[in-house]
Amino acid sequence: MTLYERLVGLRSEPVKNLVERGAVRRFAEAIADPSPLYTDEGVAAEGRYGRLLAPPTFPRTFDYGRVDGLRLPVAGLIHGEFTISYERPLLVGDEVLCSMQLKDSYDKTGRRGLLGFLLFERTGDDPGGERIFTTNDVVVVTEAVRRGMGS
């Protein structure tokens, strides 16, 4: 049995997140993104949306809730891939219902020994149930980390 196989398909209870102006400003500063559309309300008011935008990777900051029984090791996980697709841009002031699911779990043996691959899907919907974005992450659990987990 691969790591977490019995948890595949389980979804977390959605959590309500709010795209806050201050959080977006701090995030834009942290990634050194100079676009005024993230921080300057005057510029944003003249723009297509009339509101500030959130940077494309901002959904990383949201709370996606917990999948029952899923306990990941604190250290040693490798982030292999990240994908996000938007149905529309994310704006400051948006309320987003976020949840996550373990989509798949499989093992591969390679140069670095036995590797466990975990595929996570996270989604963000507006309060009306319309999808705003979907993210997919590939997380790799190395053999050393797996030994530490006692599996």
Partner: protein, 138 residues
Amino acid sequence: MNGAPRWEMGDELREQTLPPVDRMRLIKYAGASGDFNGIHLLDDAAEEAGLPGIIAHGMLTVATMGLLFSPYLEHGYVKTFHSRFSGMVFLGDVLHVGGSLSAVEETGEGLLHTFGVHARRDEDTVASGEVGFLLFRR
């Protein structure tokens, strides 16, 4: 205000060179993203994990590749972003980010421009992927 970009197949986005990665950048990103994993912040935690030093958050490198598109946000938005991580980024590393147009597709929403993007330290690619930038019709 800039005019809307007119990209042709094969066009390259001007490669940007970023300031060397320093600890304060990683502390700020940890605070802004909520990712306080010690391997990004604490020498001891990095050493315990068998690393030669603290490493930058992979998602910070993704966000850095996203900077290529910030000049065009009046005219569209990043609709899709895919990144594969292929190397670790350490303190003092100087990253160069760039991209080139690989596909254009007409959609109901506008013209979807797909760019191959990369982040490299010298000749080592630390992350690469694709960005779909949706350019609005006027």
